[in-house]
């Protein structure tokens, strides 16, 4: 029960809680009008294309029941695809193809569900995306045997503030979402080395399914990932943004999606507080403005 007395310690460390995130990060930094840019995956992919940031290509968009007739021919041509709702939330409605035990009728039904809005934010009618399925990357075969890992970069005012690798587990049923039991592995921003790992907000040292040690691994193309994430954050214009990056063995890092309400478990995954980093970025950006002013005068 000693945790009850730790409020002051947490405050001194600068740990950001939900209330502070909502008030000072989301309400103050993220204008509501910009949310659709990241909530709408198609719009977000178009934005990335405009600024030259690679994303997994979208091979088809199903907007109406009439277009469902095209699906079998697309699947014959490209059997390895991901079906996902355009405005989905928390990994709902994502289907990896091919699925040996699913008949074409099952896939048709799944697409109908997505069109009806059964998988989307607020249950509004949606369209379904047929997206390139990122194959497994050999560098991650050992650390993430169950499904595709992704890197979440948390950016404050366009500057990377924290990062973690998210690994799906058996417990999370193959999804990388942390609250569903995925692993969060903190990453040192400077070197791209993993430093700490958590599952369901508690420290773990090894992968619960395989026993592999999770720390002291260096991620490929780290600085490129940071650069790409910053470029996305500046183009989107949200001051508190999570950018999710996946590793394609052929195409390198691809930006999968962005999140306007990124969670706080990333602090636990890094064993670090967000507050001092946010303050450092604020100071650094203010110093830059000051420098410009002096140079101009």
């Amino acid at each position: 029960m000693r945790w009850l007395l730790r409020g002051r310690g947490l405050r001194e460390l600068g740990v950001v809680g939900m209330n502070r995130r909502n008030a000072e990060c989301i309400l103050d930094q993220n204008p509501r009008a910009l949310f659709p840019i990241v909530d709408d995956k198609r719009r977000f992919a178009a934005l990335c294309a405009r600024i030259g940031v690679p994303t997994p290509p979208i091979h088809g968009v199903i907007e109406s029941h009439a277009q469902l007739r095209q699906v079998p021919s697309i699947l014959r041509e490209l059997p390895e695809l991901v079906i996902k709702p355009n405005r989905g939330a928390a990994g709902r409605g994502i289907l990896l193809l091919p699925q040996p035990e699913m008949s074409p009728e099952d896939i048709h039904e799944h697409l109908c569900d997505i069109l009806a809005g059964g998988c989307s934010l607020g249950g509004h009618p949606d369209c379904a995306l047929l997206q390139h399925r990122v194959p497994k990357h050999p560098d991650f075969a050992e650390i993430s045997p169950l499904g595709i890992p992704d890197v979440r970069i948390l950016l404050y005012r366009g500057v990377p503030a924290m990062a973690m690798l998210r690994l799906p587990t058996r417990d999370s049923r193959g999804r990388a979402n942390l609250h569903q039991g995925g692993l969060g592995v903190g990453i040192d921003l400077e070197t791209g080395t993993t430093i700490h790992a958590i599952q369901r907000d508690r420290t773990v040292l090894r992968h619960p399914d395989t026993g592999t040690i999770l720390t002291d691994r260096i991620l490929p193309e780290w600085h490129r990932i940071l650069e790409v994430a910053s470029r996305v954050a500046r183009a989107v214009g949200l001051g508190y943004l999570g950018v999710d990056v996946v590793f394609d063995p052929e195409q390198g890092p691809l930006v999968l999606e962005a999140n306007a309400r990124p969670g706080l478990a990333i602090q636990l995954a890094n064993r670090a507080a967000l507050g001092p980093r946010v303050a450092a970025i604020d100071r650094q950006l203010e110093a830059r403005v000051e420098l410009t002013r002096i140079t101009l005068s």
Binding site: L10, G118, Q267, N270, R277
Partner: protein
């Protein structure tokens, strides 16, 4: 950040002060609802107590950090429990939500579209309430009121959310949320059930100004929630491995270290 917080505190102070002034200057013997019909008084009581229920929800969500279905589901549920009485209301709730959740699982197999599915679920829950009505009546129980007071739409929403949450995040989380919702509703029913609260609100409706002031203050509370002290407990647990410097070329800012006891306490607001 500071000016906005100060602005909020000013508004809250002004509202509270204004309502206190009204309270002090108004002639005390006068009933503000004296021309309102008896049914109208019931409605007025509901309208006066609902903001208090909403304030309790704010405290639970933002200060304690309990999860619940929706924002005002606990508030409306608490109002219903207040009207029916705790024991009867909770019995009725269990009698509806658990079978309703079981029926929701059955409905899933039919793969209905969202709106018709919600309509079907609503009808099924209406059937359950009808059964409860007939069953209670056969025992000579005065329950007709209680059944009509259980908010049907809220219950349908609860069943739907319970099912979705279980599907997505597992049964543990779903039933914890159900428990949280019920706990908040019980506290609301107890708070507004304190003898004299309803009477006070009917005699002094200007108290709503104070309630709103409290809501504004809570709206800028940026401190930790009680449950977060538990969630983040590993961050203060002492032995934290030192972390390399921040990437911004500044001083080693972002290192987790043991809290120094001498540091000045920061204000929460």
């Amino acid at each position: 950040m500071m000016p906005r917080t100060r602005l909020c505190l000013m508004w809250a102070g002004g509202l509270a002060l204004a309502s206190l002034i009204v309270m002090a200057t108004r002639s005390t013997g006068e009933d503000p609802f004296k021309y309102v019909s008896p049914q109208g008084r019931v409605a007025a009581e509901f309208l006066l107590l609902l903001p208090i229920a909403a304030l309790v929800v704010c405290v639970f969500r933002n200060v304690i950090g309990l999860t619940a279905f929706g924002t005002f589901t606990p508030a409306l549920l608490g109002m219903a429990l207040y009207e029916t009485g705790l024991a009867l209301g909770l019995g009725l709730l269990g009698l509806i939500v658990i079978p309703g959740w079981w029926l929701r699982q059955g409905v899933e197999g039919l793969r209905l579209l969202q709106v018709p599915r919600a309509a079907l679920l609503l009808s099924l829950i209406a059937c359950l309430l009808l059964l409860a009505l007939v069953w209670a009546d056969s025992f000579g129980f005065q329950s007709t009121n209680a059944v009509s007071l259980m908010p049907l739409v809220i219950l349908t929403g609860m069943v739907e959310r319970l099912w979705t949450l279980e599907e997505e995040d597992g049964s543990g989380r779903a039933f914890r949320t159900l428990l949280g919702t019920t706990a908040i509703a019980i506290v609301i029913a107890s708070v507004i059930g304190i003898p004299g609260v309803a009477g006070w609100m009917l005699a002094h409706p200007e108290t709503l100004g104070v309630v709103m002031a409290a809501q504004i203050v809570l709206g800028r509370y940026t401190g930790f929630r009680l449950t977060e002290l538990y969630r983040f407990r590993e961050l203060t647990a002492g032995v934290a491995p030192p972390q390399p410097d921040s990437p911004f070329g500044g001083e080693p800012e972002a290192t987790v270290r043991a809290p120094s006891r001498s540091a000045p306490r920061q204000t929460v607001y």
